[in-house]
Every structure is written in structure tokens, then in C-alpha cells.
Point group: C2
Chain length 175, copies 2
């Protein structure tokens, strides 16, 4: 996946490369969706691990570490990162609970830092703000990876995202 990207990714090619038949792959993963889910779950877990590592090594500016960690992982694993968002269940339904738990874990990493920045806010407020901030960073990161930004002359999407996050946190601290 990291090599070919979602569009050229295929279960048959995976079977070839691991030295098993396509039938065995289907016995294990059940379907293409199952294979993709396993793969994306791994990517999500690696992403969360990367963020926690960055936070553990961070100094005072933990928000910067978080936002930069977000961008770093996407930049270092662009095709796997994009696959997370571009794969959709064949039936259009939601992903299984175990997968959603990984996404929720990733969100909780961010929520922890937002809560630290806004110690006087209600947990409900912190969660709502976290969702919005993650969406903000995601938008910048997506435009960076889809080359929408480079097409428009943007050169430092991570800096812009961090500035937006800082503004929002500052506004939330005001009376």
C-alpha cells in the first residue's frame, strides 16, 4: 500500500507478494474490505504511536508537537494515510467497532492536550473543540498531500494549521 497507493492496491497482488494464493487471503480476511480494514487499523495504530512518541519527547509546546506529529506521519506515509480516508465499506456502512475504537483513541490523544490547554473548560466543551481542531488540521494536511496547496502557492501548511489551532485555543481562553 505504501508503495502503490490505494488505487493500484489489490488483494491479488498482496497474495502474490506474500507467497499465498488469493483463496487463502480471502479465508483469512474474508473480503477486500476486511483486508483494507486490517491494513488501515495498523496505520491508525502506528499514527497514534507516533503522536504519543512526539508528545513524550516534547518540551513546553505540546500543541506544536501534536500538530507537527500529525503532519509528519502523513508526510512520511502519504499513501497509507490517504488510504485511511479514501477506503469506504462496500455497503457504505460504518466500520466495525474495533476499528472505530482506534480512531477514537487517536482523537483522545488530541483531546488530552486540548484539556491541558483549557483546564477550566467542561469535558464536553473540550471534546467539541478537539473535534473541530482535528478537522482544521486534517483539512490543512489533506490539502498538503493532495497537492491542492502547492497548486495554490502554499508552502507551509503545517505552520498555517498550527496558527489556526493557536487562535482557536486563545479564543477559547477569553471570557
Amino acid at each position: 500500500m505504501a508503495e502503490t497507493g490505494l488505487a493500484r492496491f489489490s488483494a491479488r497482488e498482496v497474495a502474490k507478494r506474500i507467497g499465498y494464493s488469493i483463496g487463502t487471503l480471502y479465508n483469512v480476511f474474508g473480503s477486500y474490505d476486511g483486508l483494507m480494514l486490517a491494513l488501515n487499523a495498523r496505520t491508525l495504530a502506528l499514527w497514534a504511536e507516533h503522536l504519543r512518541d512526539r508528545l513524550a519527547a516534547a518540551g513546553e509546546d505540546r500543541i506544536k508537537a501534536l500538530v507537527c506529529g500529525y503532519f509528519e506521519f502523513a508526510r512520511d506515509n502519504p499513501k497509507a494515510w490517504i488510504a485511511i480516508y479514501e477506503h469506504h465499506m462496500a455497503d457504505g456502512g460504518p466500520a466495525p467497532e474495533s476499528y472505530q475504537a482506534l480512531a477514537a483513541d487517536l482523537m483522545s490523544v488530541a483531546a488530552g492536550e486540548v484539556a491541558r490547554e483549557l483546564p477550566d473548560s467542561r469535558p464536553e466543551t473540550v471534546l467539541a473543540l478537539t473535534r473541530s481542531l482535528v478537522a482544521t488540521v486534517h483539512g490543512h494536511c489533506a490539502f498538503a498531500l493532495y497537492r491542492t496547496f502547492s497548486m495554490l502557492g502554499e508552502t507551509a501548511p503545517a505552520d498555517a494549521a498550527l496558527a489556526r489551532v493557536r487562535e482557536t485555543l486563545e479564543a477559547a481562553r477569553r471570557p
Copy 2:
């Protein structure tokens, strides 16, 4: 496309429905990429038209009209909207100039409103801020359509996006 979504969309099915053979479709559009580009170009043009309509009918709060127009179009044409972002050229290269011009036009609609909000800012600053604001709104809109938000309990993504945009514009006005 509006009916099936990108994943189930196929040139062969298009040929069937319009009553032409698959060969004729390829004579006209050259490739699957060509067909997709024509389709996405139409979606971009309709989107820009929708935004201009909303702005023309807007009262004082033109920023709200812009952000809401962004979300409305995506919500009313979810599969076509997603196709804009999820289709990638077969060779991974950039889209043709004529297509990029449509994306630039869409951005210029937003830039016009940002410039109106920040009359004392240099054009360069306005453009950079517009890119970042569009990325912010896009992130919220993408999470709304990908059901990432509903999975996390968010109920009013457009309101959150508008709040983020207002904060940034306010911060840009400060000394």
C-alpha cells in the same frame, strides 16, 4: 456518479445509460481520467455557481453565506463532491491547466470575501489566509461527509467551521 459514487462508477455503465458503446465513450473522452475530469470539472463549476448565488442573495453576513454555501453543496451532492477529491490521475501527475483554473476560480470566490473582511491587508496576506480558511472549512466538511464527525458525536460541523473562520478573521484584524 451522484447515484453510485466513485467506487461503483464505471465508464462502461455510463456508456450503457447514455445509449452509446464503450468505444465511442473512449473516442470522446480518451480515457477514464478524461471522463472523470470532465465530470469533476462540471461539479466544480456548479459548486462555484452555487457559492456565487448564495453570496448574491446574502445579507450582511457574507462569510456565513460562504461557509454555509460550501457545506450545502457538499451535502446536496455528496458523492460528486467526494469524487472531486478522491479521483487521482492514473500517472499521479497534476490535472490539466483548464481544470486547475476551475479550482482557482472557486478559491477566488473565497478570497474576494476575505479581502472584503480585511480591507487593510496586503493581497498576498489575503491569499495565504484564504487558503488556510478554505482548508479549515474543507476539513470540517470532509469529516461531516465521511461520517467521522457523527462517529465522534459532532452534530453541527458547519457551525463549528464558521466559528473557526470567525476566530481567524478576528485575529487577523487585531494589531
